[in-house]
């Protein structure tokens, strides 16, 4: 549009040519003036592009009256937004009221004052312009909002896809977690996975910010923790590493609060590192609840080079550990009250042993019920671990290291036999274990080393909950003996070979037998149950 066309258009409607002339005179210097001498013509012009920006409308006209014209224009969406100013000799209050009811924006009474006409027209036009600007802005906001919502949905999908729905199971513990994303996503997450036969790792975190960036940040945190935990038994070291990685190139200045735990499922020893997260609650069998409120360092990704610490917590049989994010305790209702720590503690206190899933669901339900109609503002994440194992008595375990010579196997057997008689382990249990020692250690000493150098083999024996657990560690060639094919035990005397038979025996006489490559070491774990001895 060029400048001439840029002038705003005023439509003057009056049956008296003199009035038209007068108004045109007043307005034509600033506006483009169109005229109509009757209502029908006025509506026609109002519907012709470019439409007038404002109407000056006489009321008393032959045929269609000004009121009727106004009414018609207001009924048609195409013309409804054109402001109408009545110009009339009618001056009663009733007339004005009727005019405003029909949608007029102003009322100018005859005789016309040029100054007043100019001023009122100018006011109405600038109001109209403001309205249009607002409408445009609103439309922009609406599209932006849609786009943002889409982005938030993508973020939520990433978030929900990243957290596990299946949880590790074992007779020593049960664990369950759930995450309820807020409408506008926060970056909560949790994880729970098996590290090795003795350890599980679980964590809860909350990324600052929302949408895709927060979701990706959360995915990064979760992935780094899991990758690191596979070869790092210390939560302090894991979080220190994750923090260093995530502090790099963190231009968005996002950060994440973390609570990371590694549980030794056999001994109940729990390692925890808290990086700026809400203190988890620990409920003991006697019902007493304590908060694990120690802080081990700053939120993660804020600053690299921080050395985090870790805490040792001894879980007892029957202990329940509750991890959560602030979406739970800071959930608020319409009275602007917070859900708070006390309500959470009460829920935990009231919970009698049962499936941990139920406790998680109880807490989430209670949070929702508390919020009422107040929309969930932040993600809600709850993770519950119930420990049902028993602490190992230190006296009921021993460690021994031997060099890689076959004759050293006797030392292990001797020590184990002393341990067995001290703990009342019968031959029924100790004989197969001795045999397993002989097989496994012979294997390691004979085949794991190719350099002819001296190596140490570590052996740990523990008596836990009616089971003897043995962990054998060596730094030899990576080799999983338990993947060896079973020998054919149906062959005749002539065809028989002994190779592979030993491992076959171990697998059969033990109740559990696992292998894991742990960084640069082979770790073999065998378990012999005392109650259900074969």
């Amino acid at each position: 549009m060029d400048n001439k066309e840029d002038k705003q258009i005023i439509l003057v409607v009056d049956d008296a040519p003199l009035n038209i002339a007068l108004l045109s005179n007043i307005l034509s210097s600033s506006y483009k003036v169109k005229v109509a001498t009757n209502g029908k013509k006025a509506i026609q012009i109002a519907n012709t592009e470019p439409r007038p920006d404002l109407l000056l409308l006489d009321i008393m006209m032959p045929g269609m009256s000004g009121y009727e014209v106004c009414e018609k224009l207001k009924q048609d969406p195409a013309t409804a937004s054109i402001p109408v100013i009545f110009i009339t000799a009618k001056t009663t209050e009733e007339d004005e009221r009727h005019g405003f009811e029909l949608g007029a924006v102003d009322y100018i009474t005859k005789p016309i004052s040029p100054v007043i006409v100019e001023a009122r027209v100018k006011t109405q036009l600038s109001l109209k312009k403001n309205m249009e600007d607002l409408r445009k802005a609103y439309a922009i906001i609406e599209t932006q909002k849609d786009r943002m919502q889409q982005e938030l949905n993508v973020g939520r999908n990433i978030q929900l896809a990243m957290v596990p729905k299946d949880f590790p199971v074992n007779h020593n513990y049960s664990i369950f977690a759930a995450l309820e994303p807020a409408r506008e996503v926060g970056g909560d997450f949790y994880d729970a996975f098996v590290v090795d036969e003795e350890h599980i790792c679980f964590c809860v975190g909350d990324v600052s910010g929302k949408g895709v960036p927060a979701a990706l940040f959360m995915a990064m945190a979760k992935t780094l923790i899991k990758a690191r935990a596979s070869s790092d038994p210390s939560t302090a070291s894991i979080v220190t590493h994750v923090n260093d990685e995530m502090s790099k190139d963190n231009e968005g200045c996002l950060f994440v609060t973390l609570f990371v735990c590694i549980l030794n499922i056999r001994t109940g020893e729990l390692l925890t590192t808290n990086a700026g997260h809400n203190p988890p609650l620990l409920k003991h069998m006697d019902g007493k609840i304590t908060a694990l409120s120690h802080r081990d360092g700053l939120v993660v990704a804020a600053m690299d080079g921080i050395a985090y610490s870790e805490q040792h917590v001894q879980l007892q049989k029957g202990d329940t550990l509750l991890l959560y994010t602030d979406g739970v305790t800071e959930a608020d209702n319409l009275n602007e009250e917070f859900f708070g720590d006390d309500r959470l503690k009460r829920l935990l206190a009231d919970w009698q042993d049962g499936p941990v899933k139920k406790l998680v669901e109880n807490i989430i339900e209670a949070t929702h019920a508390f919020e009422g109609d107040n929309r969930q503002a932040d993600d809600i994440t709850v993770l519950v671990l119930h420990y049902s194992g028993q602490k190992v008595d230190d006296e009921k375990s021993f460690d021994i290291e031997i060099g890689n010579e076959l004759t050293n196997i006797d030392r292990v057997i001797e020590k184990f036999m002393e341990f067995s008689s001290a703990n009342g382990i019968s031959g029924k249990i100790s004989n197969p274990i001795c045999m397993a020692f002989d097989e496994l250690l012979t294997n390691i000493i004979s085949y794991a080393y190719v350099d002819g150098a001296r190596h140490e083999i570590g052996i740990k024996v523990s008596l836990i909950q009616n089971a003897v657990v043995i962990v054998i560690t060596d730094d030899g060639l990576p080799f999983n003996p338990f993947t060896r094919e079973d020998p054919d035990t149906d062959l005749s005397i002539e065809e028989r070979k002994i190779g592979g038979l030993g491992i076959h025996l171990v697998k059969n006489v033990m109740d559990e037998a696992y292998y894991k490559r742990h960084v640069d070491r082979n770790v073999i774990t065998i378990v012999k149950n005392i109650e259900q001895a074969k």
Partner: protein
Amino acid sequence: METLFTEMNNCLIVIPRKRLDTNNSPEVAEKITEKIQDGEQKVVFDLGRTDYVSSAGLRVILVTAKLLKQKNGKMALCKANDQILEVLEISGFLSIVKHLGNLEEAVEFVCE
């Protein structure tokens, strides 16, 4: 924990004490091989004083069985505890070597 070797009715009685494992089996195998090569045709393993037998011990039993088979000899096991019996069972050895409850029966069996 040496393995004892005695004779009974012209049979070689092998009595492993405590265990038959990686460390003591080679010596036992060597001794039995020697005896069979010297003409021994009947061997009984008395496992009454043995706590456990590992695959190295099974190897001794297998070597003995193979050698005796070549020489038309005969062998038997006796008095194994439940855990050793389980090992013999799992390894399939009970299908190639006879096990009897006491020494007399075992000797009788190899002398038949």
